[in-house]
């Protein structure tokens, strides 16, 4: 650690392009080993959960240990189906972006379980404050795919009137808060919303997700302070996919602690969870939601996962990390793991899986055709130009009225 002399220190990831990645240095707690305390336990009595790793699916794809949520095969198949759809949707949208049909896109490859399991463990009436990589929530909540695509291509049917960068969805009806392009701002807003739920005496809660890089932002600390101060019924998730564009996770937290352990100083129940384990995420989220609804306040969750593809369509990860890192990464592929678990239960097989993939591909292709029939960013039609002056204020004032007239719309 130290040679007894102060030195300027900048942490660096263990591997760069050209290196052979090897994750044997990670001392990951095995699935089934973590204790599952009663959700009403005081945070100080379960600090070990911030350093270990809550996992349910073991190497043989069996559900083990106290955190097994014992979900029915129907629920597991539903989760699998949402994850498969997310992956196929993402792949298709990336292709369309490459064909010039979309200005920009962001995939969630490798971290589909985070959004899907999290959303399924919540109630539909709970408000989610996601970042841009939880599109899986929308599938789990039944958002119309055509509407999602219309937003991404900013056409005349875009519910956001062509104002947002693709993937920055809003869906009030589905209790999906409007995604901001400014990192982390939604984290303390979610706490405020949760406080509003408590104020109104409802048992709805809020949940929010940010990336590992964003934990360095002031809003992260704002949210943690609010959540602990006001014991807000909120679940604050950090999706540790290990990369913030080209910057590795250590630049946000140093190279010693875990992200989950940051919750301890705030007195929050803090869990570190295998983010590629559908069952573990489901169980941890359910547990946290339970605590929130029972008045025990907020839970802070680190979901340990890996961003398998580029940050966005403007990024090339081969320039900053080994190409095969995801393949050797020890927590595997969340879809494969759930699929194999279901197969092990005798509730799924390769044929059915292939059929599911076919079905989802067909749905995505068909949906895009329909979306395109409402226009594209490139060829129009877009929402009418006068809409750029709408929704700035509840009612248009003279400045906007004159400017709209100036533009002749």
């Amino acid at each position: 650690m130290s040679n007894g002399q102060s030195r300027f220190h900048v942490p660096a990831p263990p591997f760069r392009p050209g290196d052979a990645p090897d994750f044997s240095h990670l001392d990951l707690q095995k699935a089934g080993e973590a204790k599952r305390p009663d959700p009403l336990t005081a945070p100080a009595k379960m600090t070990d959960l911030a350093f270990g790793m809550i996992g349910v699916l073991d190497h043989n794809h069996q559900a083990v240990g106290e955190w097994d949520p014992r979900l029915s095969p129907e629920v597991l198949r539903e989760g699998l189906s949402h994850m498969v759809l997310t992956r196929i949707y993402d792949a298709r949208m990336l292709k369309l972006q490459r064909q010039g049909k979309m200005s920009f896109y962001m995939k969630s490859l490798g971290e589909e379980a985070v959004a899907v399991a999290g959303a399924m463990a919540l109630e539909q009436s709970d408000m989610v404050f996601p970042s841009y990589r939880q599109q899986g929530i929308l599938f789990a909540r039944g958002r119309n795919i055509v509407d999602m695509m219309c937003h991404c291509i900013s056409n005349s049917r875009d519910n956001l009137k062509g104002r947002q960068l693709p993937v920055h969805y809003t869906w009030a009806e589905g209790n999906f808060f409007s995604i901001s392009g400014n990192l982390g701002t939604q984290f303390p807003q979610a706490v405020g919303y949760a406080m509003g739920c408590a104020y109104k005496g409802e048992d709805t809660i809020a949940a929010s997700w940010i990336g590992d890089g964003t934990t360095a932002a002031p809003d992260f600390h704002a949210a943690m302070t609010l959540a602990s101060t006001y014991r807000a019924p909120v679940i604050l998730n950090v999706v540790n996919n290990q990369w913030a564009i080209s910057t590795y996770e250590g630049i946000a937290k140093g190279d010693a602690a875990t992200f989950a352990s940051k919750g301890l100083g705030y007195g929050l129940a803090s869990l570190r969870v295998d983010g590629n384990d559908f069952l573990a995420i489901y169980a941890a989220t359910k547990w946290a939601a339970d605590r929130a609804r029972k008045g025990c306040g907020a839970t802070f969750i680190e979901l340990f996962t890996y961003r398998a593809d580029a940050h966005s369509t403007s990024d090339d990860p081969a320039r900053y990390r080994p190409k095969n890192e995801f393949e050797v990464w020890p927590l595997g592929d969340p879809i494969e793991r759930l699929k194999n678990h279901l197969i092990g239960l005798g509730e799924w097989d390769e044929d059915r899986h292939a059929k599911l993939e076919e079905q989802m591909t067909a749905l995505v292709v068909k949906s895009y055709k329909e979306a395109e029939s409402h226009g594209t960013l490139h060829d129009g039609p877009l929402s009418p130009t006068h809409t750029i002056f709408e929704d700035v204020y509840a009612t248009e004032d003279w400045r906007l009225r004159r400017q709209r007239q100036d533009l002749g719309v």
Binding site: M127, T185, F187, Q189, K200, P218, T225, A394, W398
Partner: protein, 338 residues
Amino acid sequence: MPAMNMLQALNSAMDVLLDKHPETVIFGEDSGYFGGVFGATQGLQKKYGLDRVFDAPINEAAIAAMAIGMAAKGLKPIAEIQFADYIFPAFDQIVSEMSRLRYRSAGEFVSPVVVRAPWGGGIRGGQTHSMSPEAFFTHVPGVKVVVPSNPYDAKGMLIAASEGDDPVIFFEPKRIYNGPFDGVPDAPLSSWAKHPKGEVPEGHYRVELGKAEIVREGEACTVITYGTLVHVAVNAAAKAGIDAEIIDLKTLAPYDIETITASVNKTGRVVVAHEAPRTSGFGAELAAQIQEECFYALEAPIFRLTGWDTPYPHAHEWAYFPGQARFIRALQTVTEAR
């Protein structure tokens, strides 16, 4: 009607809002138990309980964000920033989030928050307790910016702000919390007691946002200002014996263009005045708009009377503040220009 100072009027506004609207919640640093460092929320926690009026951590971003989340849930938060100088940590939440939520979500989510902040100099606050950062916010589409100059407007506008559907940045000129200020630092402290705008109804009333008021009619020139300087302007015009028309802008975004142009077309001479630094200050916006709309009526260059392009200096506060003497010179310059 009882006489109230501006703090009492603001307190009364919040009392009315808490009483009338169960979704109103009030919070800020020291705003709960203690009632605010200036006392604006005094007694409200005791009357309405800990869950209606409460203390917030010293994290302005958290305060603004919490308000946004609460508003999205249908509450009506009134958030206090202890001094306007400390609004910058909350800048991103206000500028990128609160102001734009309606626009970015095409109306699916809204954020009708009121952010109150004691504003402006004149209390020996040094550079960190004296700022008037209004121009940063008038530049932001989606927020309204208000600066009342008297107890009557302060109460009526705070109620209107909280009952409206848009986010409002509500700046309170702290120099005149207790009484008007004529711009002469050594003059004895005055009180709102005998001022017509110090008569404030106890109950509910609104003063519409976006409307200016002509506080003194005149023919020789038009003075456009807001906050503490409204009183300095009135006194300066009287002292100089200049027949100035004085407009109290009250709302800076959106400002009342009609009242301004009607007056400028009548007088042909203009002083725009604020305490904030000159460069890119709100006076620049007013001057540009006036020359666009009233160019042929102008008989002299528009005079900008402002603070200097420096932070607010503690020891030299009165050299910074556009007090009565500078005001009189400005009025003379504009009216004598040929």
